[in-house]
């Protein structure tokens, strides 16, 4: 068992993205795992960080949102007019 001091919550959370993206070297990753084995707060932080990220990725994927919306007619007219003036 390691006698080294645990990394702090600050270190874990600051570099969490590297841990989740599997970008930490093995010895560093082991330090993160050792901290998580004794820190419920950081475990909850990671869970809720992942949940928030997933919610963000799905914020505009509403299955009930209307599909096939038309572009506003005045915008089409403006774009076509601008094109003609520059043609």
């Amino acid at each position: 068992m390691s006698t080294r001091p645990y990394i702090t919550c600050r270190e874990l959370i600051e570099f969490l993205h590297l841990y989740l993206d599997q970008e930490l070297p093995p010895d560093r990753r082991a330090e993160f795992d050792r901290h998580l084995a004794v820190c419920d707060s950081c475990v909850h932080y990671i869970e809720t960080y992942k949940t928030a990220s997933a919610l963000g990725r799905n914020a505009w994927t509403d299955p009930e949102a209307p599909v096939g919306e038309d572009v506003p007619e005045e915008l089409v007219t403006a774009i076509l007019a601008a094109r003609r003036s520059r043609a």
Binding site: H17, E47, R57, A82
Partner: protein
């Protein structure tokens, strides 16, 4: 609805559907020859999605419409350089995203709000014992099943400082690679990763009051 309006809507539908029926190569040829009908079909076909993208980035209807207009005009000017290696929808998407980012950069507003207030806080020893992270009421899937969740999340994303919100949108919503996002924003890939991490942390902080599990008494 009067006859004139009815006719123009029919013409619009015809122009829009034309893109879907003609082959992309045929449409590209028409665009390169400067045919207005092909250009109009492109605007009507891809405009709605591109306008949604611009609204997300700019949070202002007029700005969003201007960015879409700039994007289509830019596409018109550079259609000769489009190699056809990617779909035209992907190419237009990049052009409009770029137009949005340029607008975000050029906004002469008050200095951007700091994100520090939205990042986790720790005790002096670097631990969070004094403010342990609470659990939330459910998984992302369970929370997304609630009608109001997406609106809450969109509002929270809108509250992020522009430079962080832009990276979150590029990576998590528009699904660009880290490399592409870095090139468009003009920062290093490492800086993109750090900004994305902080944006997600800030989003977590903003959503926590809505979704934290009530403490058991």
């Amino acid at each position: 609805m009067n006859v004139q309006k009815s006719r123009s809507m029919a013409e619009a539908r015809s122009a829009s559907s034309q893109w879907g029926t003609d082959s992309e190569a045929s449409q590209l040829g028409a665009l390169r020859r400067g045919e207005e009908k092909a250009f109009e079909a492109m605007v009507r076909s891809f405009g709605p999605r591109l306008l949604s993208v611009a609204r997300r980035f700019l949070r202002d209807e007029e700005d969003a419409r201007d960015a879409v207009q700039e994007g289509f005009l830019s596409a018109y000017r550079s259609i000769g350089t489009f190699q056809g290696g990617s779909q035209i929808s992907t190419w237009l998407h990049r052009i409009v995203v770029n137009a949005c980012l340029m607008r975000l950069r050029s906004r002469q507003r008050k200095p951007e709000e700091s994100i520090e207030e939205l990042l986790p806080r720790f005790a002096e020893d670097g631990h969070q014992v004094a403010h342990p992270t609470p659990e939330w009421e459910g998984s992302a899937e369970e929370l997304l099943a609630r009608r109001e969740t997406r609106e809450m999340v969109r509002e929270a994303i809108d509250r992020l400082p522009d430079s962080y919100r832009a990276v979150l949108l590029l990576r998590d919503i528009e699904e660009l690679s880290t490399e592409e996002a870095a090139r468009l924003v003009g920062i290093t890939e490492n800086a993109v990763k750090i900004r994305l991490h902080r944006a997600r942390q800030a989003l977590r902080t903003l959503l926590e009051p809505q979704f934290r599990r009530a403490p058991a008494w």
